[in-house]
């Protein structure tokens, strides 16, 4: 058994999990997990307020660790290592989880493993699907990130594409705001889109067909705003047309990235919050088939922020003997591929 306590606090979810790294199925691997969402606290502000998030993490994290261990019927002494998100994300929240992890590790004499939150997302498909082997092509689409990576092995990532402005989840959230659907907006846009015509509203597909590998969604978002203001279109048609345009962009960019990957990819993998979108999954399924690869998509509850993926990344690192010192700094920015050239555009965390 390799039992890992995972702690996540980089955005607006406080999460704790106990992972058994030596188990062979997803059900056995997640021994226990808890997630406390802060959606209600942030809703009046229309987005995450960093100081409110950090306070909420601090209020709940220690009791959540105790409760999750109790759920698992285990104690801290049973753990083999403590894995905590060390970045990237909202630094005040990251510090709460990381200091909690450090203190637990120090007090119990267990190794500390600082996890890159994006690595958590990147490896979550391996937690869910024990047959998924390296290397694979990963589309990581969340509220803060929008990247395509070649996952060569543990800790080895080659970035093939990133966004030059908004992340895909951000584009869904902003479209939801434009349509008056509230926060978080992705699921609401998807629901409304089911009732609309994806061809009703002519919208641009930024960068589609261009040689540039990256994503861009700012122009699409502005076009949705203009289309709404024209008063010509029903909200459901706007939602459906936006979703279709966004998916067309993702498919075009991912097709290009697959062509740029080494020839030995085992799968096309999608992770991150937007991977919950069924229309996107369907389109990726078709693309993967075209490339002769399986599409691997973790269950929806593993796609949004959670601590099981942090504990899993910890388990993979623990298995290779890695640990971190107790003075490990929290990192607001922490790209998976440190060697990738920076791209223009603001608000990109990695």
């Amino acid at each position: 058994m390799a039992l890992i306590l995972g702690i996540e606090s980089s955005c607006d979810e406080t999460a704790v999990a106990v992972i058994d790294g030596s188990a062979k199925t997803l059900a056995d691997r997640i021994v226990a997990q808890r997630i406390a969402s802060q959606d209600e606290a942030h809703r009046p502000y229309g987005g995450v307020v960093p100081e409110i998030a950090a306070r909420a993490h601090a209020d709940v994290i220690a009791p959540m660790v105790a409760a999750t261990l109790a759920d698992a019927g285990l104690t801290l002494d049973d753990m083999d290592a403590i894995a905590a998100t060390a970045g990237p994300g909202l630094i005040g929240g990251v510090m709460v989880g990381l200091v909690t992890g450090k203190a637990l590790a120090m007090a119990s004499g267990k190794p500390l493993i600082g996890i890159n939150h994006l690595e958590g997302h990147a490896l979550s498909p391996r937690l869910a699907d024990p047959t998924l082997a390296y290397p694979y092509c990963l589309l990581l689409v969340s509220g803060g990130h929008c990247q395509i990576l070649e996952v060569i092995g543990l800790g080895q990532y080659r970035r093939l594409a990133t966004t030059i402005d908004d992340a895909l989840g951000e584009a869904f959230d902003k479209t939801a705001k434009v349509l008056g659907l509230g926060y978080p907006g992705g699921p609401a846009v998807e629901r409304l889109a089911r009732e609309g015509n994806p061809r009703a509203v002519p919208l641009p597909r930024p960068l589609v067909g261009s040689g540039e590998p990256h994503f861009s969604f700012a122009g699409l978002k502005s076009a949705v705003l203009r289309a709404r203001d024209s008063g010509q279109y029903a909200p459901a048609d706007l939602a459906a047309s936006f979703q279709q345009a966004a998916i067309d962009c993702v498919i075009d960019r991912t097709r290009g990235a697959l062509a740029a990957c080494a020839p030995n990819m085992t799968a096309l993998v999608v992770a991150g919050g937007v991977a919950a979108n069924a229309a996107l999954r369907g389109a990726l399924e078709a693309l993967a088939g075209e490339a002769g690869l399986p599409l691997v998509a973790p269950p929806v509850k593993l796609c949004t922020d959670n601590a099981a993926m942090i504990g899993w990344a910890g388990a993979e690192r623990f298995a290779t003997g890695q640990s971190d010192p107790l003075d490990l700094p929290a990192r607001p920015r922490w790209p998976l591929d440190d060697s990738a050239a920076p791209v223009r555009g603001a608000g990109v965390k990695a």
Partner: protein
């Protein structure tokens, strides 16, 4: 009956709420080890290694933590560490506030009872202010004020805290004791300054505005 384990007689004090970062281990009320650094920033990196460097990694039956006010981040770093250690060691957490320790340190430095105004750095250019009488009793609740408003409140012969020098510059005749909380001095705290648990004392609401720039109720 076997002797109690040493940690049963020990109290760990953690203070990372302000620019200083300090830890101390007491046994039967006597300081046996401790460290105090003026850090400014970086408490999240330094604090746990400082505790780990104490005898038996700081293990104690009671953990006393400064719950604020000070910097929002520093407060959380101390509380997160204290609560996690309490969970790991099945220890009890208690807390105190920055001005109480600063006032106690000022009285000790003065060498006897004296009224003290504690004035320390707050956020957005404001100062935290709290007056204490000669016996160490707080005379008013904590306030976060502009420097001018803070100066107008001063009444004691002694001003202590990170803004003490600025106060003395503006109010000749007042004696300044520039002091930051130091966990090693926690033995000076009156029993009335200790609270059960560790609820954060941020001293100010989060900086957040509702759509349209409205402050939350």
């Amino acid at each position: 009956m076997a002797d109690a384990a040493p940690h049963d007689r020990r109290r760990l004090v953690i203070d990372s709420a302000t620019e200083s970062c300090s830890v101390a281990l007491f046994e039967d009320g006597a300081l046996i080890a401790g460290e105090c650094l003026m850090l400014g920033r970086g408490h999240a990196e330094k604090l746990v290694p400082m505790i780990a460097a104490l005898p038996d990694r700081g293990r104690a039956a009671t953990i006393l933590v400064n719950s604020g006010p000070g910097s929002f981040t520093g407060i959380r770093v101390g509380l997160a560490a204290a609560r996690a250690l309490a969970l790991a060691w099945n220890a009890t957490v208690r807390s105190y506030h920055s001005p109480d320790l600063i006032a106690a340190m000022a009285r000790a430095q003065h060498g006897g009872p004296v009224a003290v105004d504690v004035v320390m750095t707050g956020g957005h250019g404001e100062w935290f202010v709290r007056p204490f009488d000669a016996d160490g009793l707080a005379l008013a609740p904590l306030a976060s004020l502009s420097p001018d408003a803070a100066l107008a409140r001063l009444s004691a012969p002694l001003v202590a805290g990170s803004q003490a020098a600025a106060c003395a510059d503006a109010r000749p005749g007042v004696t300044a004791m520039p002091l930051w909380p130091d966990a090693r001095q926690a033995g000076l705290l009156p029993a009335t300054a200790l609270g059960d648990g560790a609820a954060p004392a941020y001293g100010r609401a989060p900086d957040a505005r509702l759509p349209g720039g409205v402050l939350p109720a």
